[in-house]
């Protein structure tokens, strides 16, 4: 009986999540429009997350370059460090690492903000005044996340490549111009499309999960803590699983073979 009830509750929650994920983007096409809220959220998610993205991306680029040049040096191939670092960052590590940082920073922020609005009855006030909370609160956050995560990813990729350059030139003693020429070779349409299409989807997933868990918060401070943790953990897991699935699909679509 308890198992059946749990199963029913979980299915109901999943249905609510899908409905929210569908209604959020549709809110962009129906009046009233909340342009100011979108800009505010873009400011919070973009410039607000920039410092941590720069920091993480720089060190990921440097660590990757260290590891790869050490391995390649053993085979006498360390001049290809730029190519491998560039491909790994642009296609895979850049989008995923920035999305994980984004889930931790902006995702937790969205969940805790909406959760405290639910617990403080502010969402009830919106409903009493006839304002649709999904349109007013979720649509701007989803829109901002979908727009800002790709921008952060491009910046993060650039900083990671700079970190890789620093290690290649000053620690691994390779030629700087050759490193950049290898990077230029990597910047093909396929690689760029593969790397830059993912952040749009990751942004959508992170925002929908975080908003849903925030709006589902119940039970005071403990409930708020639970919803914030759930938002970050579920977003991160979904980003990693979706990354694999998207990579598989993109490889097929772009004609890349294993």
């Amino acid at each position: 009986m308890g198992f059946a009830m749990n199963m029913k509750d979980n299915l109901a929650r999943l249905q609510d999540f899908y409905l929210l994920s569908l209604k959020a983007p549709l809110g962009l096409f129906r009046r009233p429009f909340y342009g100011r809220e979108i800009v505010e959220q873009m400011d919070y998610m973009g410039p607000g997350s920039l410092f941590i993205v720069l920091l993480v991306s720089l060190f990921i680029g440097m660590a990757l370059s260290l590891q790869i040049s050490a391995e390649l040096a053993a085979m006498g191939l360390k001049m290809y460090t730029g190519k491998i670092v560039g491909m790994a960052i642009v296609r895979e590590i850049g989008p995923v690492s920035v999305a994980l940082v984004f889930a931790g920073r902006a995702g937790s922020g969205m969940a805790s903000e909406l959760g405290s609005m639910v617990l403080g009855h502010q969402v009830d006030i919106l409903r009493v005044h006839g304002v649709n909370p999904v349109k007013k609160l979720v649509t701007p956050r989803v829109t901002a996340a979908v727009l800002m995560l790709p921008v952060l990813t491009v910046i993060g990729d650039g900083v990671s490549l700079l970190g890789g350059y620093y290690i290649s030139v000053f620690a691994s003693h390779q030629s700087g111009p050759f490193y950049w020429s290898q990077i230029r070779d990597v910047m093909s349409f396929k690689n760029l499309f593969s790397g830059l299409s993912k952040p749009f989807i990751f942004g959508y997933i992170i925002a929908c999960v975080s908003c849903y868990t925030g709006l589902s918060a119940r039970g005071g401070a403990r409930g708020l803590r639970r919803s914030t943790t759930t938002a970050v953990v579920v977003s991160m897991i979904l980003v990693i699983i979706t990354d694999f699935l998207l990579t598989r699909v993109l490889m097929y679509v772009l004609g890349m073979r294993i």
Binding site: P32, H121, V128, H129
Partner: protein, 248 residues
Amino acid sequence: MIEFRNVSLAYNSKAVLDNVSFSARFYERVAVLGGSGQGKTTILRLMLGLARPDSGSIIIDGQDITELEESQLRESRMKFSIVFQEGALFDSMSVRENVAFSLREYSRLTEKEIESKVRELLRRLGIEEAIDLMPEELSGGMQRRVAIARSLAGCSPRMVLYDEATTGLDPLTAESICRLIRELSEGEPPDRTGLIIVTHKVSDAAKVAERFIYLRRGAIAFDGDMQHLMRAEDRELRIFTEELHRME
């Protein structure tokens, strides 16, 4: 007319309201009393369609709102306004923006007209000087006043619902909030704006209400006026009204 007919609601298998039935006219001044977790706030949420009962019906002006979709509830909600515990002000907005919120959402007033209406409301409630402050800069009493101003800004409610409006306030501030609540419900029935105040402070309830409903374990254990309340024999209710007896 507001009617609850055999309304029951449970959260996580725990009964919050158990077969509750009562009715109230829009001009009445009602206090819903009871300890924490007895279903007092749930009654207000059900009345506004913010929660749905597991069984029973809630009739507002002849219409069963339990059967309505969220988008169809607007007309029924327009008859009420609500002041939640601790105000529920939007903390990213200033006092001006909080009070102007529903005017901006739905009225076609110009910014100048909105500003003038906001100032007029804040002046009426004695907090005009707080217009540029943020909610975190306000005292508890001022937060409640701003919440009351916001509840009155958008529409002319037939009944104002107060959820623990004086909880957490010092006695002087609580007294001034009670006076304000009473002033907003001045006039003769049936033209006056009614109120339902949910509270566990019976002394505050006595200052604003004429009818008292006492909830125990989600069921109505008492429903009557002040005279009957003071004469009630129920042991738990006597503990609640002890303060009033002492004052007498």
